[in-house]
Symmetry: C2
Subunit: 285 residues, 2 copies
């Protein structure tokens, strides 16, 4: 890697001190017009740019913000990062991305490293098995800026950006009720998940306010795994009365739910060859 031009280099060529060069470049201090012009010209010629590492050492600022998310491959997370990156870049900051892979220990290590790396702050969406919040307290105590995104720990005095989980599912449920649905089922995430409970609460609230009774066993749980809740949904499809709508905890589970329903439809309503009015043989993989 070729050496970039430094203040010293410019100073040496012009036979002045680095301080003079610095002042010329900032043009906010007593400096002769001729010197300033010479410096500016040479700086341009040598393609000078201040070394951000040196500035970082001086100002104790790196203009880098950390982002810790469970998995960047989840669409919610990547679109969140996309937005974060847009805003922060426009403000002259860079973004370091770290994945916890839903692992509490990895999350703690990442946070520690980001603090050590002197990032100016971190935005974090916590792993859902994080029960110990010690690493967060430590950071906050040290005065390190921490903002929680989407998933926040139940702690006092933290900064967080989340949705109103109760209100969100209440609105969604009310919408379904407005469409005429009276048998709305709910696919929650893993049992014990805080968000799952909150969102279920909104679902209940909407029913209560509409004066609609919820059928028994209309609540099913599922893991946040590759199946995306497909197997859980099939249970709902066998209930009597059959649900006329299904609310799910999030987008991934909704995808699994739709896949399960599609499989169910194809099973009970097979494509009928007899009414085909098109020649066939079409492979879709």
């Amino acid at each position: 890697m070729k050496k970039e031009a430094t203040l010293k280099d410019i100073a040496k060529v012009l036979n002045v001190s680095p301080a003079t060069v610095s002042r010329a470049l900032h043009d906010d201090y007593q400096i002769s017009k001729s010197t300033k012009e010479k410096v500016l010209a040479l700086a341009k010629e040598m393609d000078y740019a201040p070394n951000p590492i040196a500035l970082g050492l001086l100002h104790k600022k790196t203009h880098i913000v950390g982002v810790i998310i469970p998995d960047i491959a989840y669409h919610f997370n990547s679109s969140a990062i996309s937005g974060i990156e847009n805003v922060l870049n426009a403000a002259g900051y860079s973004v370091i991305v770290c994945q916890s892979k839903e692992d509490f220990r990895k999350e703690a290590v990442h946070l520690k490293n980001l603090m050590l790396g002197r990032t100016d702050g971190t935005i974090i969406s916590i792993a859902h098995n994080t029960k110990d919040f010690q690493h967060f307290s430590t950071s906050i105590q040290k005065g390190y800026p921490l903002v929680f995104l989407d998933r926040a720990p139940p702690m006092e005095g933290i900064s967080s950006v989340t949705i109103d989980n109760v209100e969100a599912t209440k609105q969604a449920t009310t919408y379904l009720i407005g469409l005429g649905c009276r048998n709305i089922a709910y696919v929650a995430g893993p049992e014990g998940l805080e968000i799952g409970k909150k969102r279920y609460e909104g679902y209940l609230k909407a029913h209560r306010e509409a004066g609609i009774k919820i059928h028994e066993n209309y609540l099913v749980h599922c893991k946040f795994d590759h199946s995306m809740g497909k197997n859980a949904v099939t249970k709902l499809l066998l209930k009597k009365p059959k649900p006329d709508a299904i609310l799910t905890i999030n987008d991934r589970i909704a995808i699994g739910t739709m896949a399960a329903i599609r499989a169910w439809l194809l099973h009970f309503y097979p494509l009928n060859d007899q009414i085909c009015n098109e020649p066939d043989s079409f492979h879709v993989f």
Copy 2:
């Protein structure tokens, strides 16, 4: 932000020079056992960790690698970043993520900033409207490490990680032929796209080698936009003979293709109420 402990702090408490503390911590130089122990104990107590910015200034290394991709919200990109992040983290590096949003100018600005920011190198997947490769030559000339991922410019002497586009579609097409398909259509991306041409080449090659003639107008183009090629595919569905398989340039276009086919199926093979053996009324949104 509370001040972190520094070498100087430790030195002051112990009444030794920072150099001594540094050597004690690295235990690779002449130092008395007693001093070393005292330093180590205090360092631990004060929770000392070397300041990476200072180290960066000294070693001209930041242990940060840049990644420039068109859009993190594309699954291919986010899963690539996921892998990059895993490997690099294990090696003690952090990853700064930048999005070009398929904009050539943004890409150039990001690369410039990453170089200025003294990142140790950058992995880049170029925007597909990038025709001017000046910024890459500049970087390479300066000796800045650049690795192209997936999309690489047609330049000499670059490092890149890509797939063999011709071979990939050749294999896929051969697989389809092996399944018995004889009317395989191809949905390319935007006209003029290098990758699209290469992949089409593989499609042709497979047919040639199998001695199968390709039907006319079995090649359609589409934009990489929100429609994901749906409208382009409908043209294929009207061809005679109708394709019995469709190869697409990538996953997103495949999704659009499947959606188009599904719409087509539902149109020509509507669900037949008469053979329902299940009570109904099921909302899927």
